[in-house]
Amino acid sequence: MLQPILFALLLLAAFGLFAWQVQKIRANILVGRDRDASGHAAERFTKTLLVAFGQQKMFKRLTPAFLHLIVYVGFIVINVEVIEIIIDGLFGTHRFLRFLGPVYSALMATNEVLAALVLIAVAAFWWRRNHNPPLRRFTGPELRMWPKLDANIILYIEVALMLALFFMNSADIRLHQMEGKELPGAFPVSHFLANLLPATSVATLEVMERAAWWVHITGILLFLNYLPSSKHFHIILAFPNVWYSRLVPQGQFSNVESITHEVKAMMDPSYAVPAPATNPDGSAVAPTPFGAKDVEDLPWTALMNSYSCTECGRCTSVCPANLTGKLLSPRKIIMDTRDRVEEKYNSPLIFHPNVYGEEAKHEPVTDLMSATLLRGKVTPEELWACTTCNACVESCPVNINPLESIIEMRRFLVLEESAAPNSLNVMFSNIENNGAPWAFSPSDRLNWADELYAAEKATV
């Protein structure tokens, strides 16, 4: 009787803590500016099915796509066993789903094969991340300290969980063998492993099986509560992130409506600019800055982006600026956004934001609260290196859009601080004065058509 009560308490505590953490993340995301991402349900559904569930964009690179698919399918299928564990734990049953008969056997066998494959995939992941020299996309100033450790911790936890599963099944098989009974279900891997277990007493095996069972489920619940502090949170947010991602062509940048009103009023004095929004007490809401200086100036989707990022670095590995040695790394901008929103608002249980030094050409940060996203974490040099080529956006398996944040911060630099590089200021004034980004006379615009000849074609 004690075990189910303990288990119920553990479950309650784990899900309660997780819900509390998710609530903090939700609040962090909603710090961002309003952005209407509603409607187009059919289109969003198809995209979510293909990109999130179907992992469509992962398959641009076959090796990691295949390895990731194993872990992804393994995660989903093994969760069915977690349901059984929860039922068993709450009601004191043992292998409750056994009544499914052959279906149960198939399920358990699939689990075991997948778990074995997951171990292989995780080993491959670890090698890809840690061998010397590592893959280029697993390097960079943003991937040191906590992010680097986090990536390995996830792999170690996955190994521990799979080993606990095997140990639990093996002990159970051995126990049933000693009692002269047949364990329901099929266990292709554990059946072999069971023979390696020492032929000790039934009591010892019972303790071993129970211990493995508790380690397995406690491990899963701990992992659940580790997620909000980790890049591994992508297993949850990838789905809403893809659902809410932009449906317009990638080349279409957002329109700043407040500027539209101003420009219309300039061109047509009779244009009525909408009255500014008011607070409940009737006072005018403080105007929001043009562009983004800090996280609350970004649309909420950009903040959700930062929680959906698993720091894989595909964006950075295809960035033309990064490839040619510039400071810009799209992944860093996404990771900085998450660090900053957690620094300023709600932080997770484990929080160790990246502090950059010489390597990322950062001034030493003395005051964390005033170290805004722009300048505090992302330097103008990074932002000005972007060619807006959309390679990062195209490459992201979960439709994160680093380019949008880059443009928002450029807008702040130009419109609020007049801090564009001088050559761009020259380009701006050329457009203002000559209607062209170069210093040419507008009256020469049709010169190309002078003396224009075409060869006479007999066939015309």
Binding site: P249, V263, T387, E394, L415, P437, A455
Partner: protein
């Protein structure tokens, strides 16, 4: 539009490019506006592309016109650089001009103008059917209006197409330029980083007007090296190309003599041409826009 005889060369005739204002004076609206763009109007190299495309438009008898002196920068470089205010000023000025003339359809040889007018002008009151010249050329070839014969032959010449970001990833146009090139009966070779994986030439996002940030290499050099290796059949040397995982290619030996890098964007044109000069290959490898290749193959680009 009326052909006039030229005394210098009887096989040539002079073309008069109609302006929208001239047509409006006659109470006419062109079926299609040829948006020339700043590079097309001022950049000496890209003016040749503008002229080639005008020859094609005239050759197939398109009812077209240009805005001429009434055209102004779309505002693309300002917007990409973060100057939303200047962008919207430019956009509204152009929209007022075009709406005033009743323009419905626009063709342009610049992917940046194309993207801006097509995707960003509607929110400001400018709704037009906008097509890039690669799509327009593809249509002309498919309809048989351009035979791609009677001029220079590109048969067997090695050509690689460099995707423009603002045509490709920005607007998902990958096949139209390739279809146009296919009509040349040339030896088309693909770079490893092509289509959605294409590498930027380095000029987008207002980079065209500024020095690049400190780094180890210029982007256009990285891209030109890839193009040259692809054209010379040495792309195997690029098997570990950063940023893309590809299958190993079989090395083959090709002379760069007469090879062509095809582009469809004025900024790519500048960047790739500079890259070829930097690699001292300008005597062998030429950079051409699609419109130039088609006009030459059609025998009207003189």
């Amino acid at each position: 539009m009326t052909p006039t005889s030229s005394p210098a060369a009887p096989t040539k005739r002079q073309l008069t490019v109609p302006t929208v204002a001239d047509l409006a004076a006659q109470g006419k609206v062109p079926e299609i506006l040829f948006w020339v763009g700043c590079a097309g109007a001022f950049d000496d190299r890209y003016k040749r592309v503008t002229r080639a495309f005008a020859r094609i438009l005239e050759h197939v008898g398109t009812d077209y016109a240009v805005l001429g002196l009434e055209e102004s920068c779309t505002g693309d470089p300002a917007k990409r650089a973060g100057n939303e205010f200047l962008f919207q000023m430019q956009a509204m000025q152009n929209i007022t001009t075009m709406n005033g003339y009743g323009i419905k359809k626009i063709v342009t040889a610049c992917p940046h103008c194309f993207n801006t007018i097509k995707n960003e002008y509607p929110a400001l009151g400018g709704e037009y059917e906008v097509i890039h010249h690669s799509t327009y050329l593809q249509q002309l070839i498919n309809e048989g209006k351009v035979a791609v014969s009677g001029g220079e032959s590109f048969k067997g010449r090695r050509i690689t197409f460099h995707d423009s970001c603002y045509l490709g990833r920005a607007n998902n146009i990958y096949e139209a330029p390739r279809d146009v090139l296919a009509a040349l009966d040339a030896d088309l070779v693909e770079m490893k980083r092509s289509k959605a994986n294409g590498l930027c030439c380095g000029a987008g996002g207002a980079q065209m007007w500024k020095e690049s940030e400190p780094g180890t290499k210029e982007i256009n050099i990285e891209r030109t090296e890839e193009a040259l290796a692809t054209l010379s059949g040495q792309a195997a040397a690029l098997d570990n190309l950063r940023g893309v995982e590809t299958e190993r290619s079989t090395p083959s030996e090709h002379s760069l003599q007469g090879a062509i890098i095809a582009v469809s964007c004025p900024f790519c044109m500048t960047m790739m041409s500079d890259g070829v000069k930097n690699k001292e290959q300008e005597a062998n490898v030429q950079v051409f826009d699609l419109a130039e290749l088609i006009a030459s193959a059609e025998g009207i680009n003189r």
